[in-house]
Amino acid sequence: MISWLRDLLMPAAGTAYARQVDDLFVFLTGLTLFFFLLIAGLTAWFVVRYRRARGAARGAAVSQHTGLEVAWSVIPLALVIVIFFWGFHGYINAAVPPAEALEIKVTGRKWLWQFEYPNGLRTINELHVPLGKPVKLVMVSEDVIHSFYVPTFRIKQDVLPGKYTQLWFQAAEAGVHRLLCAEYCGTGHSDMLGAIHVQSAEEYAQWLEKGGEGAEAIPAAQLGRLLYTKYGCDACHSLDGSRGEGPSFRGVFGHPVRLADGRTVTADENYLRESIVQPQAKVVAGFQPVMPTFQGLLREREITALIEFIKEQK
């Protein structure tokens, strides 16, 4: 019954801590059901039994009973104190990372997550962590407040501009876990998804070594398509000609582009490359200069792949 309830109401538990939170959650659910049924049951009973049309025995009015008042003040008070400590205990565990935790830096911005690993490697939206080891995230925002939320780990922390916040977890199962932004941040708030890849220690080490995905084996345009969604370009640039925060990629390559400063340029490879690493250099007329730069985030091969992909969009 309890596990059925937990599985219905909660997503899978990805850490031992998540299961602890679930225990409290299930307890509270049971408590809620108990008190609700008590209140609803008594109400239903009284309404039926003492319906005005019935001649039920009513007797003298009782409108005051100190004993009852004390009882139904003290018992709930005792219950909530228990709940407080239970909740606090879990919270403290989640708030204090172990000293040996692996530290990964997180930067949130509209509308993507950027991760930087101790060896200098950087990824976007895909966080890779080793299984069974504590990981500490040190987080900051580049613009507005975001929030780092991993439902299967039951953790969440706001990501603030100008001040570091932190979060830690120890993944207990390999696999992919969803990362969601949980503080409203504008148009792309609900597109700011990420994935946490929990890998065995060996796989993780290999992945770090190779500096990311096995990117070399895939043909350029196909890699470009993968990167287009993986790096969040699709949040702003459509492929079907419809207007987003940024211009559509459809039919852009090789054609003239009108810029905000009045100039007209041709969208060749260099233009596309510049727009990826220095997006403010040439802003298209009618659009806001809001694109973040991918300088240092994409390797040359990846930039080339994206350009090839854009060229394909007719």
Binding site: M10, Y50, K156
Partner: protein
């Protein structure tokens, strides 16, 4: 019962626009807030329509973001906060006290015009590109986004004064205008509830005022207080904002509870159980409500100690509410219960508020809140307390005092149909959202993961049933106005003073100043026949 009453004694639009009669002011507030409720409801239906499918359904992401912002702002500032105090409270409070009017009738009219001005300013933003910050206006998003944020902050500032003046009026009225013989503990509990609400209005609303002023100055002048690039602290805004907005939710629920305390004794023909416990609980809630604002900020980056203190205090504020619920249920024991419309809504309140309050425990507990914060679980929780609680109680009060206000009865049969649809539709809409939330569906999400679609479809279907129930309710209430004035002075057999005068009352309320010689719920001292057939 035809004859001269406050509705027909003076006629013409000008007599209404310049009135100082608390009853007319209450009626004007009633129509205005109901209009706001309708508008906020339309936004809600559009939101739920968009959420039928994971991607775009009928609107863009930007439009959606404006929808939920406006839904929240309109419902909270233009409907819920003024509704019970300014619409029903204005009408009924002096009558309950045996007074001729509130302490400051001209201030009362000014309150209404401030409300109107603020409302028009807020609605003007619709024509100016709208606002997309969420009703909570968190910085730095709200200081850096475009749209009509400046205008809406001014609107909120003006609306705040409307609220403050209502609070000032009610407190002075309760202190100085009680009928002879009405000691504090002979006052109806509705009055205690309105008094506690007024205390919060006076102490909390000015902080909202300064908060929006600072936000406006930050946007206009870059004063620096909330902008990290200028050395400010964006989380400071949250402290300012919630210092008002948490007590504000008690401005919303205390009046609702106050109505329930009136309705249950009358429709159970029993004195209220635990009069003093309920009265003191109202005051306790008002007091403790100022100490818990940080429970909205457990993951904001505030210190662990602060979070612990706020969590503990949050649990304390739950106790008086629980006490009230038990007292209400106990009132029905050995009563003589009639399930007319006001009582149907009162019972709905008991069930729905219980769920809302109990789910608050999940959010007050630190470990679970971290998971549930900013998910649909929170959305469901506050809709259960604000809509299942306050709005349902408002409807109970509306149905209870409708004959008194307009001199007409409404269709009992249609009221049952509507109440049933509203109850079923509400639960279908929002129970699903608890599950969505605990399963990890964040709030304010335009797109969502496909696994949540079935629950969203259920929730949207529920919203249509709920809307249907409310429309039917609007229908029979409006239809009742076209009847002959057929309401007796005391259709429900109540013992409080408003039932000792005509339905509708004369402009001066009472032919003779009442003298009070007993409590407001002394059903045990009054025989059944006398109570049921009470006519003056």
């Amino acid at each position: 019962m035809t004859g001269r009453n406050y509705l027909n004694e003076r006629r013409g639009l000008w007599s209404w626009l310049t009135t100082r009669d608390h009853k007319r002011i209450g009626v004007m507030y009633l129509w205005s807030t109901l209009l706001a409720f309708f508008l906020g409801g339309v936004f809600a239906l559009l939101i739920r329509l968009e959420l039928l499918t994971p991607g775009k359904t009928v609107m863009s992401a930007d439009t959606y973001n404006k929808m939920f912002t406006l839904h929240g702002a309109v419902m909270i500032f233009l409907f819920i906060i003024p509704s019970i105090p300014a619409a029903l409270g204005n009408f009924v409070l002096p009558l309950l006290l045996g007074a001729k009017d509130v302490a400051f009738p001209r201030l009362n009219l000014a309150s209404y015009y401030l409300y109107l001005a603020g409302a028009l300013m807020a609605l003007a933003t619709l024509a100016m590109g709208g606002i997309d910050t969420g009703w909570t206006f968190y910085t730095p998003y709200s200081t850096s986004t475009g749209g009509a944020v400046n205008l809406v902050t001014l609107a909120v500032f003006v609306l705040g004064f409307s609220s403050i003046f209502t609070g000032i009026n009610f407190i002075a009225t309760v202190h100085k205008l009680r009928a002879p013989g009405m000691s504090w503990f002979r006052m109806p509990l509705f009055v205690w509830g309105m008094y506690a609400t007024a205390v919060i209005q006076i102490l909390a609303t000015p902080v909202l005022g300064i908060t929006v002023l600072l936000l406006l100055m930050e946007r206009l002048l870059g004063i620096g207080i909330f902008d990290p690039k200028l050395g400010g602290d964006p989380v400071l805004f949250q402290h300012f904002f919630w210092f008002y907005s948490h007590p504000a939710v008690y401005i919303m629920i205390l009046p609702g509870m106050a109505i329930i305390s009136e309705v249950i004794p009358v429709f159970s023909r029993r004195p209220i159980f635990g009069y003093r416990a309920i009265a003191f609980s109202s005051v306790a809630i008002a007091g403790v409500s100022f100490l818990v604002w940080g429970h909205h900020m457990f993951v904001s980056g505030q210190s662990v100690l602060a979070s612990a203190i706020f969590s503990f205090l949050t649990f304390l504020v739950a106790i008086p509410s629980a006490v009230k619920v038990f007292n209400w249920v106990a009132t029905m024991y050995r009563g003589s219960i009639s399930l007319q419309a006001p009582m149907l809504y009162a019972i709905s309140f008991l069930l729905l508020f219980a769920i809302g309050g109990l789910t608050g425990l999940f959010l007050g507990a630190l470990a679970t809140d971290v998971h549930l914060h900013d998910t649909y679980f929170v959305v469901a929780h506050f809709h259960y307390v604000m809509m299942g609680g306050t709005v349902i109680a408002f409807l109970a009060g509306l149905h209870y005092w409708w004959p008194k206000m307009f001199g007409r009865m409404y269709s009992e049969r249609w009221s049952r149909v509507a109440a049933a649809l509203i109850f079923v539709g509400f639960n279908a809409t929002f129970l699903a959202q608890f599950v969505m939330g605990s399963r990890g569906m964040p709030r304010r999400y335009y797109n969502y993961l496909p696994e949540f679609q079935p629950l969203h479809i259920l929730s949207t279907a529920g919203s249509w049933v709920l809307a249907l129930g409310l429309l039917i309710m609007a229908g029979y209430l409006l239809a009742s106005l076209r009847r002959r004035p057929d309401a007796p002075p005391n259709p429900w057999g109540g013992l409080t003073l408003e039932w000792q005068t005509g339905s509708p009352p004369p402009t001066h309320n009472f032919e003779r100043t009442p003298r009070v010689e007993g409590g407001p719920y002394d059903f045990h001292l009054v025989s059944e026949e006398a109570a049921a057939g009470r006519q003056r």
